[in-house]
């Protein structure tokens, strides 16, 4: 799937130590940890390196999905995640097409990043200045991206259609070390960026006009939000699949909508996504099901349990007064009241 490029000596000098360190982490730290866990729990699947990689990938997606998704959902533009995923598919096709026609050694994931980020900026432009409604323009970009991808693939000779399936539906068994490495790097990057820009992102989402009056550049932070979405979607797409990848940006956030504070909703969203992803992968392995689909269905199941089940619990609590009835989510009390 990932066509390995022949790196330049300069690149190697930089990437080799990093990739070496990551190898060490994957085998010596993560691998051992899961092997121990496997022994303790009597769960055999944790011993296989490909499942260890899959779990690490799922945990990463479970962190960055809701972290970025929370802002999208509350800005009421969650369709952007799906739109960018479908144009990222076009990006993959562009890479494969150029490789086949011009014999370039492009990484399809690399071209997917470029195309998705460019589309993110275009979509933001359409949302802000377009004559058509957001809904319509997103639908056009989404289908247009997918159409471009399918046309390019049909125009490319040879066997690239084989690899395409893995991009469309995702695949756990084939999660490569490079995929997981990319996800770990993206998780660090996205988490740091969200942590630094948490306040402006929150203000812009909550009350964009007041944020603008307060001197915050709403346009730039909205752009940042969609570019982060593109990064998350592309790095998760090989595991979740283009068609399903947006789910972990949206469903966990919807699941914890009963949270009281925004900070708690972020934490609870990550917890919900982790439950869906880890449980989903385990079920998928156990019953030999498609991983992406199983994760999404598990996340939706959790949503139903929390939202429908939660409907009966808080009523009774709420009758008792202002106890934490708004929180119908299984979330840790990690924030210790350190709010902002």
């Amino acid at each position: 799937m990932v066509t390995e490029m022949s790196p330049t000596p300069l690149q190697s000098a930089v990437t080799d130590p990093i990739s070496g360190a990551f190898d060490w982490f994957l085998v010596e730290v993560w691998g051992r940890l899961l092997a121990e866990l496997s022994g303790a729990l009597g769960v055999g699947m944790l011993e296989y390196p490909f499942m260890q990689r899959a779990y690490l990938a799922a945990i990463c997606i479970g962190i960055i999905g809701p972290l970025v998704g929370a802002f999208l959902v509350h800005r009421e533009i969650s369709m952007i995640a799906d739109t960018l995923a479908h144009t990222a598919f076009a990006g993959v096709a562009v890479g494969l097409f150029l490789n086949s026609v011009l014999e370039l050694g492009l990484s399809p994931i690399g071209t997917a990043f470029v195309v998705a980020v460019a589309t993110a900026l275009l979509v933001e432009l359409l949302v802000q200045h377009g004559d058509v409604t957001t809904d319509t323009s997103l639908a056009m970009v989404l289908t247009g991206g997918f159409a471009l991808g399918s046309v390019l693939i049909s125009a490319t000779e040879g066997g690239i259609a084989v690899g395409i399936n893995a991009y469309l539906f995702g695949s756990l068994a084939t999660v490569s070390k490079a995929n997981v490495g990319l996800l770990v790097v993206m998780t660090l990057l996205v988490s740091v960026v969200v942590a630094i820009s948490y306040r402006p992102l929150l203000y812009v989402t909550f009350d964009p006009t007041a944020a603008r009056v307060a001197g915050i550049s709403v346009a730039w932070f909205n752009r940042l939000m969609t570019v982060l979405t593109a990064l998350v979607v592309v790095s998760a797409m090989q595991i979740m699949g283009v068609i399903l990848v947006a789910a972990l940006l949206v469903i966990p956030v919807a699941t914890v909508d009963g949270a009281r504070s925004f900070r708690r909703s972020l934490l609870a969203g990550v917890v919900a996504a982790e439950i869906g992803a880890v449980l989903g992968i385990s079920i998928a392995y156990q019953y030999r099901l498609a991983a992406g689909g199983t994760i999404v269905l598990t996340a939706i199941g959790l949503y139903l349990v929390v939202r429908v089940g939660g409907r009966f619990v808080p009523r009774r609590l709420a009758a008792g007064g202002t106890t934490p009835a708004g929180d119908r989510t299984p979330q840790p009390k990690a924030d210790g009241g350190d709010e902002d």
């Binding site: 509350h74 630094i196 820009s197 306040r199 402006p200 929150l202 203000y203 989402t205 909550f206 009350d207 006009t209 007041a210 944020a211 603008r212 009056v213 307060a214 001197g215 915050i216 914890v256 909508d257 009963g258 949270a259 009281r260 504070s261 925004f262 900070r263 708690r264 909703s265 202002t322 708004g326 709010e339 902002d340």
Partner: protein, 253 residues
């Protein structure tokens, strides 16, 4: 009522402003000065350009001709965000859907002061004081969406107080708020104005404005009147601005 030439620097100065959306003129030849400590009530029929005028003076839009200055700077270039608090029309309805606590919403007032990094003791004190001042400290951990309309409006005022803003601009803040809470809300604005906060209030209820505001501007594309409430009641400005057959005081929405 343009301020005396040697007086303090006006908070807002609108001079000979024209503005239109495409071909449709919205404001024509509007000039208006808001001095520090004023409580300006902006009235006029629906579609008279009140919200647009406010957006111009906040720098959210630029006039086609004429100038708008905010604290002595061109309004659209003004970047001292913490000096101005704005409660947009229906802002509170949209904000109600998000999982955000009262305290989180009020803390946003400190964001222009500290966009990154931990809040200082002074930041936290400003937030606590603001919560106390508008009497929502006991609601600090509640979700904004679970509050009544009146409580929610006070939260947005608290956000401006936490910012230590010098100018507070409100666009029809009490739509959908019950009569008793409205009375309390306007009493609060009155007190804050007495303490030195400059206020610009868009309001369709003329009675409220004549009771609480220190000056009134009556707008319908052009400025029909700008002066004190007593004079306003005596003139025909209201009838002129609204046209002959409308009696806005009884025109309950």
């Amino acid at each position: 009522m343009s301020g005396a030439e040697s007086g303090p620097e006006p908070v807002v100065e609108v001079a000979d402003v024209d503005f239109g959306f495409g071909e449709r003129p919205v404001l024509a030849d509007v000039s208006l000065t808001v001095d520090p400590g004023a409580f300006l009530g902006l009235v006029g029929p629906n579609g008279s350009g009140k919200t647009t005028l406010v957006e111009l003076l906040l720098g959210l839009r630029r006039p086609d001709t004429g100038t708008v200055t905010l604290f002595g700077e061109p309004a659209h270039e003004f970047d001292d965000g913490e000096r101005v608090g704005y409660v947009a029309q229906h802002a509170t309805a949209a904000a109600g859907r998000m999982p955000v606590t009262v305290r989180e919403a009020v803390a946003m007032g400190r964001y222009p002061h500290r966009l990154v990094g931990r809040f200082s003791a002074a930041d936290r004190r400003a937030i606590d004081d603001a919560l106390d001042r508008v009497d929502v400290a006991d609601l600090a951990d509640r979700r904004v969406g679970n509050l009544s309309g009146g409580q929610r409006q006070r939260v947005f005022i608290a956000r401006a107080l936490a910012a230590e803003a010098d100018l507070l601009v409100l666009d029809e803040p009490t739509v959908g708020v019950d009569a008793e809470s409205r009375e309390r809300f306007y009493d609060l604005l009155h007190e804050l104005n007495d303490e030195g906060l400059t206020i610009v209030l868009i309001e369709h209820d003329i009675g409220v404005v004549t009771t609480h505001a220190s000056e009134i501007a009556c707008l319908n594309r052009e400025l029909y009147f700008h002066g004190d409430p007593e004079t306003f009641v005596e003139t025909n400005a209201l009838a002129d601005a609204y046209g002959t057959n409308q009696a806005p005081v009884h025109h309950g929405h």
